[in-house]
């Protein structure tokens, strides 16, 4: 009888010990697997994450913050704001060396590192392209947003078509034309891998018959393009310099309001807006958010004066460019704090 009892007790003891220790062991294994997964992902960071504007990497903040320059949401970027000690330049060349209006040609852009000209500079894709090239005429009456393509020689090229030639993939794709001679400015917007966002201003001179210079003095906040009407409405009624300005872009077609959410994505966003100062040719690239079915834009004008703006959006596979003339009044600094508080979304 005692033997049975002894065996029973010993078995119970062993089993209980096994049961408990195996449970614990299970938990341990699980922890280990999770750990090894994280480890192999090699994305583990220590400490706080840095959030920066995808367009203006010098703008650093918290996850929920927005860029005061362009209104974009800050994105996770641990390299942001850190200077990698390199100075980038965008080298420009063209074939023929002197471009002529209406004639065929090619523009080539090559990103370089100063004092290390032989090194190739890889670029990050931002808004689906490696280089966004904005070409405007000196009087800001002409605007084009195009994207040079990388070629095997290491340059980013864009073809210039002769006057009578048709675009192979439609306007604003990977070709351009100069119908008039004159002075142009090309803004190359790019992001070198491992470096900060860059903007290169390149002056172009195109030979040929020039167009009469347009002098923009009158404000024009309403633009009609391809049957669409876009109206810019600043929250305070006026555009003021030196502080964060919020404004809406109201879109309608034949008098019917269009919900901007229903637009097609153009280069990964519902719309893009480029604003260039008439005087100093200062450049702002703003990405609207959608609020209550309207575009909502947020930017800062450094100086008062006349600015020209182009808002691009896409419907039915076609890109529309609405153009505006904005008059920015001298703003008082004291009201800016109050204003930006009001608009913390």
């Amino acid at each position: 009888m005692k033997t049975i009892l002894n065996v029973a007790v010993v078995t119970a003891g062993i089993s209980t010990a096994l049961l408990l220790s195996s449970c614990g062991n299970e938990a341990k294994n699980e922890g280990k697997n999770n750990e090894s997964n994280e480890h192999s992902d090699s994305t583990a960071h220590s400490g706080e994450h840095t959030y920066a504007c995808p367009m203006h990497t010098e703008v650093i903040g918290k996850e929920t913050d927005k860029c005061p320059k362009c209104g974009m949401k800050l994105e996770h970027n641990d390299n942001a704001g850190k200077d990698n000690g390199k100075t980038y330049v965008m080298q420009f060349s063209s074939t023929p060396a002197q471009l002529e209006a209406g004639k065929e040609g090619m523009m080539s852009f090559t990103p370089k590192i100063k004092e290390n000209e032989n090194e190739q500079v890889p670029l990050d894709v931002h808004h689906e392209k490696k280089i966004h090239l904005i070409i405007v005429s000196n009087d800001l009456s002409y605007f084009e947003h195009i994207h040079p393509e990388f070629n095997s020689k290491g340059n980013y090229d864009i073809k210039i078509l002769a006057k009578d030639k048709d675009f192979t993939a439609g306007n604003g794709k990977n070709e351009t034309k100069f119908e008039h001679g004159g002075e142009y400015i090309a803004f190359a917007d790019y992001n070198p891998t491992g470096g900060n966002h860059q903007l290169e201003k390149i002056n172009l001179k195109v030979d040929g018959k020039t167009k009469p210079v347009v002098n923009y003095t009158k404000e024009n906040r309403v633009s009609n393009v391809d049957g669409y009407k876009v109206e810019l409405v600043p929250d305070d009624g006026v555009f003021l310099s030196g502080k964060g300005i919020h404004f809406d872009g109201k879109l309608s077609e034949n008098g019917k309001v269009i919900d901007a959410n229903t637009l097609e994505n153009y280069l990964g966003a519902k719309a893009h807006m480029v604003v260039i100062g008439a005087e100093d040719k200062s450049y702002l690239h703003v990405h609207p958010e959608i609020e209550n079915g309207n575009f909502h834009l947020h930017t800062t004008f450094d100086k008062p004066g006349i600015y020209r703006g182009w808002l691009q959006f896409q419907t039915n596979g076609k890109v529309h460019t609405a153009e505006f003339t904005l008059k920015v009044e001298e703003g008082k600094a004291d009201s800016s704090e109050k204003h930006s508080d009001e608009h913390k979304h």
Binding site: L5, N6, G13, S22, S36
Partner: protein
């Protein structure tokens, strides 16, 4: 004293526990190892608008040849990029030479020797049919150890994670049990109770295994919970290439609304003919076989008429008359011809006319076959099935042959009133076979009916199919798709992208090179090849359109 010895025995036995446990632990820990499949390689990924590069490497020893694998695929479609011209330089050390060799389409072996222990980045110049690109693979670390199995990386442990603490607990419990039993023993418990206790003592063994299994399941669900229920899963690039997992970027596009009609293939007018025998008779010659292609007017068969005796006599008499007249006319003509110098011109021409008439009559009589009837094909086409053979007797007006011309067939569809307008205003019509949806063709609307079938209030609509290769057979059930003229701009994905899980429609989205996620969708209308997605995917996402079934299996087996 005796109880002390007893205690010692218990102690020794209980000590066996850890030995048994140690063995169990070993086997046990091996199992989750296989289940969880910890990564055995490091990765570095780079994306551009054209390419997706994925570099896989294991532990890289400095100053030794490092073997790495580079997977090159199209960014939007995930298709392997074959025969790309790839040059690699190291940004940190330009002297490192890399050799690149393609082993499989899209898979390139990369080897090079890294001199230092540090993090390297590789600049990849790639050129293929897709175009040129310059990309960077970052974060390639030499002398980095892969997580080793069995190495306990977690520093902080909760008490239950320590097997020794747990064992101690078990041991204590056993002691308490001994104590209780000895208590009971002193009260002279009966044997039934002891048996119950014995049972209690032995049962934990199987229970232990059950519990352990439960623990595993728990661990898995915890892992999923760690992924925020995102339905994300990993698919190695090799597997993606093997199963042909292709993606498509979701764009808002033109989606043509369509209406589906049910129809039946019928012969076109003039596309089918029946050959009957006008008289009863016997087939004396059969010139075609079943399935033979025949031309219009081609002789199919010859029938010998069945005639009563009187008719036969008549026919024979008639034949004799014709023959006799021919012979007589011929002789008369020849006779006058020999004397034509003296015969009058009138006689000669009369004899010639009579002879010609007799010859015509004879020819006519012979060609009519007399008692024979020749059956000819009224149209170009294929001879249908028939059961007659030479010598078969046939009745008058009995159909003998069916000649079908499938090069043009009609589809008769029933249209209800609500769809009638859509059918009338459609810009494109196509048919697909109900049993084989790869059998499709474009069709032409012939006519909408002017009247409505009173029994089911439907209209009969005719469509015409150009059926040169005879794909569609008479009597086949087909679906007719009617595409509307207006198209809506919507998010639509190919039907092959959509599969089902737990009765709900799903798609798989590619999040990163080896990361996919499952997304439940709300599917809208489908036009046969594309389905509108109302909810569940966003523009610019990459959705799996090929290898969807394999993705589902991988997801379910993870």
């Amino acid at each position: 004293m005796r109880s002390a010895v007893q205690f010692l025995i218990y102690f020794v036995f209980v000590l066996i526990g850890p030995i048994a446990f140690a063995g169990g632990d070993h086997d046990h820990s091996a199992q989750p190892k296989g289940l969880a499949q910890p990564k055995t390689y490091f990765t570095s990924v780079s994306n551009s608008d054209k390419y997706e590069l994925l570099l896989k490497y294991k532990h890289i020893e400095t100053n030794e040849d490092a073997a790495m694998q580079l997977f090159v695929s199209e960014f939007n479609t995930n298709k392997p990029v074959d025969k790309a011209d790839i040059k690699i330089i190291c940004a940190e050390d330009k002297n490192i030479k890399f050799s690149v060799k393609q082993t499989d389409p899209g898979v390139y072996d990369v080897s090079g020797t890294f001199p230092d222990k540090r993090v390297y980045s590789l600049q990849v110049t790639i050129n293929s049919a897709l175009g040129a690109d310059l990309m960077v693979l970052n974060g390639i670390e030499t002398e980095k150890e892969l997580p080793v199995e069995g190495e306990n990386a977690t520093e902080k442990k909760t008490f239950f994670e320590n097997p020794w603490v747990m064992f101690g607990g078990g041991f204590l419990l056993a002691l308490i049990l001994i104590f209780i039993i000895s208590k009971f023993k002193s009260k002279k418990v009966n044997s039934t109770f002891l048996i119950i206790l014995t049972l209690f003592g032995t049962t934990p063994l199987p229970t232990q295994q059950l519990y352990a299994h439960g623990g595993e399941d728990h661990g898995d669900s915890n892992k999923n919970a760690g992924n925020n229920f995102s339905n994300a899963f990993e698919v190695p690039k090799e597997t993606q290439f093997l199963f042909g997992v292709f993606t498509q970027r979701i764009l808002i596009g033109d989606f043509n609304e369509s209406t589906k009609l049910f129809g039946t293939v019928i012969p076109s007018s003039g596309g089918q003919a029946t050959v009957n025998a006008a008289q009863s008779g016997k087939i004396v010659s059969l010139n075609v076989t079943v399935g033979q292609q025949v031309k219009q007017g081609q002789q199919l068969a010859v029938i010998d008429q069945n005639l009563d005796a009187a008719s036969q006599v008549n026919i024979q008499a008639e034949k004799n008359n014709v023959d006799a007249e021919f012979e007589a006319a011929k002789k008369e003509y020849e006779r006058i011809k020999t004397i034509q110098d003296i015969a009058s011109k009138k006689d000669l021409s009369e004899a010639e006319a009579r002879y010609q008439k007799a010859a015509e009559n004879k020819k006519l009589y012979n060609s009519s076959g007399g008692t024979r009837i020749v059956l000819r094909s009224p149209i170009d086409g294929v001879v249908g099935n028939f059961t007659f053979s030479i010598g078969s007797t046939i009745n008058s007006n009995e159909p003998i042959f069916t000649i079908v011309n499938l090069s043009k067939v009609y589809v008769e569809a029933q249209v209800f009133d609500k769809d009638a307008d859509k059918v009338n205003n459609g810009v494109k019509y196509s048919v697909e076979c109900i049993n084989d949806n790869h059998k499709t063709a474009d069709v032409k609307l012939l006519a909408l009916a002017q009247s409505i079938n009173p029994t089911n209030q439907s209209q009969r609509v005719l469509f015409e199919i150009e059926n040169k290769d005879g794909k569609f057979k008479i009597g086949e059930f087909v679906n007719v798709m009617v595409f509307a003229s207006g198209s809506k701009r919507q998010i639509a994905v190919p039907n092959s992208a959509i599969s089902e899980l737990n009765g709900k429609p799903i798609v798989f989205i590619k999040d990163a090179a080896e990361h996919y996620s499952l997304s439940y969708i709300s599917a809208g209308e489908s036009n046969g090849s594309y389905t509108v997605i109302n909810k569940g995917v966003e523009e610019d996402e990459r959705v799996v359109i090929n290898g969807t079934y394999q993705m589902k299996m991988i997801y379910l087996n993870q």
